[in-house]
């Protein structure tokens, strides 16, 4: 079942078409990867889809509803969560608290109730904490629960961000280079984690440079170059696409490929 549908999305920065008419759709339980050379517009595409940038053109449909103009914090409510390429961790909070914030949507207490610490707040805190602990265990970070996030190593924080995003109970999860800067063991863990998430019925949209990982876990791959779609399809098919090969071989190749597909 299609959960996320992106149609002809585009944005221009100072005359440069960073994302130029990209369309794709993702189904529940699917791992959909977006690859491409540096500067291809992958992260910009994420920022467009998650409402951080306002799209110059095109449409985003989430679970059948047009969410093109919906503010980022409301997109979560509709089932979209993400991680960030440059970590956006709450460094002053503990790992557990980071994940607890991820559960913010499920928290039903008002600011006033929080201020007065009504019994409902204590109950809420217990629920949120239990859920956050569960997620930390799931990503293998339970032993770091009370450590201040700022004191944790990079690879660990990547998984912490995933746990935080999962806390929002998303239907679509966008992961921006989750394995970047991770060692082999950590990459392996992330690989398993993504597989699990998809099996739980979440649509995973993945930006990743680690081709081994991408080819292994993706159901479909979208290749971007210069903000445009270069190719799309199952990993095997994309890997043998001459335009993609050209793009990865260098600038010259990319231009050639562009012409071929333009």
């Amino acid at each position: 079942m299609t959960i996320l549908q992106v149609e002809d999305l585009g944005i221009t920065f100072g005359g440069l078409r960073a994302v130029d008419g990209v369309s794709f759709q993702v189904s529940l339980g699917e791992v959909f990867s977006i690859i491409g050379p540096n500067g291809a517009g992958k992260t910009t595409l994420f920022n467009l889809v998650t409402g951080i940038y306002r799209a110059g053109r095109g449409r985003i449909v989430l679970a059948g509803e047009d969410v093109t103009r919906v503010a980022p914090h409301l997109l979560v409510r509709r089932g979209m969560a993400r991680t960030f390429q440059n970590l956006q961790i709450f460094f002053r909070m503990t790992a557990l608290e980071n994940v607890m914030v991820g559960n913010h949507l499920a928290e039903r207490t008002s600011f006033l109730a929080d201020l007065l610490s009504l019994p409902s707040v204590a109950r809420q805190n217990v629920r949120t904490r239990a859920r956050a602990m569960e997620l930390l265990e799931r990503v293998g970070l339970a032993h770091h629960a009370d450590t201040t996030a700022g004191d944790l190593p990079y690879g660990v924080l990547k998984r912490l961000e995933i746990a935080r995003a999962l806390a929002a109970d998303p239907k679509v999860l966008l992961l921006d280079e989750p394995a970047a800067g991770c060692n082999a063991v950590e990459t392996e863990a992330i690989d398993r984690l993504i597989g699990q998430i998809a099996r739980d019925g979440v649509a995973v949209v993945l930006i990743e440079h680690d081709m081994k990982l991408v080819m292994k876990i993706s159901d479909r791959v979208l290749v971007l170059a210069h903000g445009r779609r270069l190719a799309e399809g199952p990993p095997r098919q994309v890997r043998s696409d001459p335009a993609v090969i050209a793009a990865y071989l260098g600038e010259h190749g990319a231009r050639e490929a562009d012409r071929a597909h333009g």
Binding site: Q88, N125, A165
Partner: protein, 315 residues
């Protein structure tokens, strides 16, 4: 274990309550009670900034403006409108909240130093209005604040105000601690570190910032009301730029985001000038020097730095 105790809500409240209870026993004269009462009042205002700046990371250089609004509410309400002082205090708090809401909505979109200058401008304008509208406020020479009468009891005397302000501080500390450990508090602390990520997990960043701003304004307003009622007299100076800086200095020196830190910071800046009077004309230079020395040696603020030290020792 130690960490748990140090960060527990109850421990902080018991500690504060104990200090408030012990000071009168040690104080040789009611002058010391007055100084302590001033510490409680300014700590209450500083607690507002603990929420706004400490938790949510939003800087305000205009909070004395709210202090001034609260102070003049209990002066103007009874004197010019014939309102009950207690009612005036509550109305003052509401007014602070409303003003904060109206001002905060547009300016909280600004970030960092840009927000600082916008709030600074707000504080300046409040002080200017209080100074200029002499017909209502008595102008730069200030105005008398009628005594508060509660159910026929004329509230006066240093020790009475000591307990009232001490009680107010405890309530304020309780509220600030409540927020810290709640969903809203986590949201505020989250947006402090990354607004994008906070929005990314569903935090309505603008709304939460506004709530923190309004709450901190109410804290400052109530503190201003208490100050005016205790002194029985108020001047527009209370809303002045230097007092805004002083409030921010209290939370930074005490330790940003720490409830105990706000009280320690307030004590630092209220008690120190009293202690430094022995230095006469050297007072200002030494005060400035001490602020610098403390910030260089304890860059995270007194309370968090000492806490860390204590934990390291224990570990």
């Amino acid at each position: 274990m130690l960490k748990r105790v140090l960060s527990s809500r109850l421990a902080v409240l018991v500690l504060l309550a104990a200090i408030i209870a012990v000071v009168p026993v040690l104080a040789p004269s009611s002058f010391y009670l007055r100084v302590a009462a001033l510490v409680w009042i300014f700590a209450l205002a500083a607690l507002g900034l603990t929420i706004l700046t400490g938790y949510a990371g939003q800087v305000s250089l205009g909070h004395a403006g709210f202090l001034g609004i609260g102070a003049y509410a209990v002066a103007v309400g009874p004197a010019k409108l014939g309102l009950d002082p207690l009612l005036s205090l509550l109305l003052g708090a509401v007014l602070c909240g409303l003003v904060a809401y109206a001002v905060g909505r547009p300016i909280l979109r600004l970030k960092g130093y840009y927000l600082a200058i916008a709030t600074l401008g707000f504080g300046l304008i409040v002080a200017l209005v209080l100074t200029s509208e002499s017909a209502v406020t008595g102008g730069p020479d200030g105005m008398q604040v009628p005594r508060m009468v509660l159910f026929g009891w004329r509230v006066s005397g240093v020790s009475t105000w000591y307990w009232i302000t001490g009680g107010a501080l405890l309530v304020g500390a309780l509220l600030a601690l409540n927020i810290q450990a709640s969903p809203s508090g986590r949201a505020l602390r989250a947006l402090h570190d990354s607004e994008v990520a906070a929005a990314g997990v569903g935090v309505d960043v603008a709304k939460k910032k506004l709530a923190a701003f309004v709450l901190s304004a109410v804290f400052a307003g109530v503190a201003g009301s208490l100050l005016a009622l205790m002194n029985g007299f108020i001047t527009p100076d209370a809303a002045g730029f230097m007092h805004s800086i002083e409030l921010v200095a209290m939370v930074i020196i005490g330790g940003l985001g720490s409830v105990v830190g706000a009280v320690v910071g307030a004590a630092f800046l209220v008690v120190l000038p009293q202690a430094l009077t022995v230095l006469q004309e050297y007072e200002q230079a030494v005060l400035g020097l001490l602020i610098m020395v403390f910030m260089i040696l304890l860059p995270a603020g007194i309370v968090p730095s000492l806490r860390r030290l204590l934990l390291e020792r224990a570990a």
